[in-house]
Symmetry: D2
Subunit: 295 residues, 4 copies
Amino acid sequence: MSENVGFIGLGAMGAPMAQNLIAAGFALKVHNRTAQKADPLVARGAQLAQHPQDAVTPGGIAVTMLADDRALEAVAMGERSIARRLAHGGVHISMSTISPHTARAVAEDHQRHGCAYVAAPVFGRPEAAAARKLWIVASGSQAAKDRVRPILDAMGQGVFDLGERPEAAHVAKLAGNFLIASAIEAMGEAFALVEKSGVERTAFAELMARTIFACPLYQAYAPKIALHQYTPAGFRLPLGLKDVQLAIQTAGEARVPMPIAGVLRDRFLAALAKGRDEMDWSAIALGASEDAGLK
Amino acid sequence: MSENVGFIGLGAMGAPMAQNLIAAGFALKVHNRTAQKADPLVARGAQLAQHPQDAVTPGGIAVTMLADDRALEAVAMGERSIARRLAHGGVHISMSTISPHTARAVAEDHQRHGCAYVAAPVFGRPEAAAARKLWIVASGSQAAKDRVRPILDAMGQGVFDLGERPEAAHVAKLAGNFLIASAIEAMGEAFALVEKSGVERTAFAELMARTIFACPLYQAYAPKIALHQYTPAGFRLPLGLKDVQLAIQTAGEARVPMPIAGVLRDRFLAALAKGRDEMDWSAIALGASEDAGLK
Amino acid sequence: MSENVGFIGLGAMGAPMAQNLIAAGFALKVHNRTAQKADPLVARGAQLAQHPQDAVTPGGIAVTMLADDRALEAVAMGERSIARRLAHGGVHISMSTISPHTARAVAEDHQRHGCAYVAAPVFGRPEAAAARKLWIVASGSQAAKDRVRPILDAMGQGVFDLGERPEAAHVAKLAGNFLIASAIEAMGEAFALVEKSGVERTAFAELMARTIFACPLYQAYAPKIALHQYTPAGFRLPLGLKDVQLAIQTAGEARVPMPIAGVLRDRFLAALAKGRDEMDWSAIALGASEDAGLK
Amino acid sequence: MSENVGFIGLGAMGAPMAQNLIAAGFALKVHNRTAQKADPLVARGAQLAQHPQDAVTPGGIAVTMLADDRALEAVAMGERSIARRLAHGGVHISMSTISPHTARAVAEDHQRHGCAYVAAPVFGRPEAAAARKLWIVASGSQAAKDRVRPILDAMGQGVFDLGERPEAAHVAKLAGNFLIASAIEAMGEAFALVEKSGVERTAFAELMARTIFACPLYQAYAPKIALHQYTPAGFRLPLGLKDVQLAIQTAGEARVPMPIAGVLRDRFLAALAKGRDEMDWSAIALGASEDAGLK
């Protein structure tokens, strides 16, 4: 527990993750763009850093949990980057959902400064983060992964290793979110079908979630979609579009046609065109109901 | 256990289901178009009926597990139908995957002969049928459902009641199969994406099936799709197309647009255009790999 | 002009087509389910037949222009069919938009009665029918096509020969209507894009119709779609769905995936789910605008 | 004809366009990244400029016809931009197919230097450019458009004015290319349908191009798609993908779902995954044939 850990990005996910690190005994320096979000962590002993670089110690460990590629690039590359402070022997645990393309660029830049890039995006919503129930997907150099393993363990219920390529875990995260969004859309269509054919949406949703689809994902989403409960948002709709766009962009670079991804993109755009920015991303399921004349 | 049960349709699903009825102590008369499929059942005490009608007793119970709407209509309606033999007080447990439209027509015809129609399609493959692990979805008049409950219990691990409308359970079956096929297609696309982005298909498949999608459906299909193992078929591709077409037809009558259903239909047609009739329906996932230049 | 011609089906298309036959000097017997639609033709010398069969003479010529497959089957096959009256030496000019499947069945039935089937569906709206501007696509035995050529010439501005197979012209008609519907949908999407990007829909529509798409189809539809003018209907939305469904069904039998056809089907269903039965089929373009939050 | 015109970008389109300006009597300075492409123009009197900026005169006119947004930004913005040389009173005629987003950025930058931005993308292939048959869509300040009108007239057969917004003409260009690609895909699907249903692709293509789709676009593409003739390329497949991606990106920013655009994107990706980079963009039509098992 002697590691110096800098934690940057204290949003809905980052804050409870940092709490778990404190609970596990790590000494944290924390940074967030709007500083007051750090208050609860400071109250529990974390030190507040005014600048991302200040949260980091040479040869130490940085954790980032940020909104998007741009936010990560701003922190991880350039004149006042965490990489320059981490420098030789440092490790950056990159937990944001970002493009593989950006991950590679950041990892190469890190290499020039002598520090390591460990990709470690997570599956799970804020409640899961708070309950230390996240699933963590990791990739990067074996030595760096070994070193940061206790830190990852302190934040999740399991770590999956996808090898040494810096972008691998990010690819898996985007593909996983695509699978989730696909399941949401499929439920939206199926529930509209049963409803308009005279079967209760909720009864059908329960049937599925208790039998062939008896897994956390369907159990979490099926009842809410059946009842069209999309607020409060666990994961806001514009963020869902961002992730689907990242998957589509990655698929475009790799030349992988993904017809369901196109369907998803259009659903997200239609939902935003109707002003559903504050709803949960599962609100794309409203589209199927509306197209069927149900709402 | 004093019920007289006629079981009609001894295919890959029907045969093990009938075996379970015998194991539970029911006296069965069985019929199948090609009679020798009845041999193992006859060996265990079932009586062979030359004609569907002969398997049925006035006021008794008929179970049908047939290939499609046409096959059911041939058995359930017309001059020599089971309905005419069942007559007043009889119950027909209709377990095939058929259109809600046909279910209504058969149920109405039954009513004229005084017998009841209980829809009871199942989720599960032949192994699940043999292991008495089917999930059964039922709808129909309450009295009839109550009477046949011991029979359903003898074939599955759970029965879900969707009310009194004769077509309701069939709607749920089609919507459920649509959800499964959607999950298969989504895996096909996601696995092609990760593979072409440098991540092992099998590692990603395992990650998903052990975490957010830890349910029977993904656990059964993800490893096979990751390895492109599509033979021997648990459920043949042309049958998958049949079910997707039934869902689309039902959606068309109800005016429910289902964009993923359109994607699925095209995948099935492309697979059949390439001669994949003997493969499992999950072989539609080959389409995403081929479109990505991977196969 | 000595041919005895029976004309069956005096709807929005059939009535002006029959008028042109009279104008060309043909002696017509006419039939329509609701007889008063025949009045204007009777006023110009046509004889009214109470039953389809009565409109037809042994060895003569029958023209049918009916709503769908079912309507044609009722007239063309069975106990009191026109085929039995036409009998040896008769020719049936089948101009309705029907499935190739039905065309084959009717043609085979005709053969048993000794009469010939000439498929001759048309492209053009009621105005074009009145102005003798229809395009006619024909297929069937060469001798029969040669014999009826003057009749076809009297109804259109050009006849295209697609060989001897009875269903060939019907395939072309369905494929052509698919192309038209695809163009309508593409315009709907493109116009929504330009509108929401600050360009006048009407200006863009005019630009396209005067340059790269300077053809009757775009010139007829582009201005109306740009202004969202969908009434009065030249071709009602439910008929458009019928034709797209026939194309999809034909594609399904031939194992031809058609992703745009799936998009079209969903647009038609959504439009009907919103009660647009009385609008022109080009009203599917409303869908793109609504999805973009424009209507 | 006293205008000083600098022409930058002498590719398959730019070279013949510049030739037409010389033919019309304009004195040209020309620049191209690979200088030898300028040889034929120099032979006819054009002056060769080593750097884009050198092709331009203060207060004069610059024409750019470049590969993409990046190429235009490199020439039009920054330290050694044409805008700095054009300066007050200069006009930049921007004829490349670029994103509306980039057009706005360039136009705003120009304004700071006192020069005007006239968007003027074109419809037409290299042959049309050589034959002065391009259709030109223009937008920008009225005064600037009036001044450059003779230059535009010397390159095309017609100019369409879409108002004063700098991005308007670029939006129209992307929407127009989307319409063309949609027509190509629709033909690909329709031709596969007729072929597999026993009708000659070429006969159906001719029928369409001579009747309801009797316009340059279909007449140019239908015969080639019918015969699967995709080389030599008039417009290479990767450029087609670029334009469809720009349309999708613009639609994304404007929140406009475009389902056909998603279908197109997948077709382009599949074609490139199969190595069809050197084919014409109409080769996306191969996809429909392959999916149908025809190739």
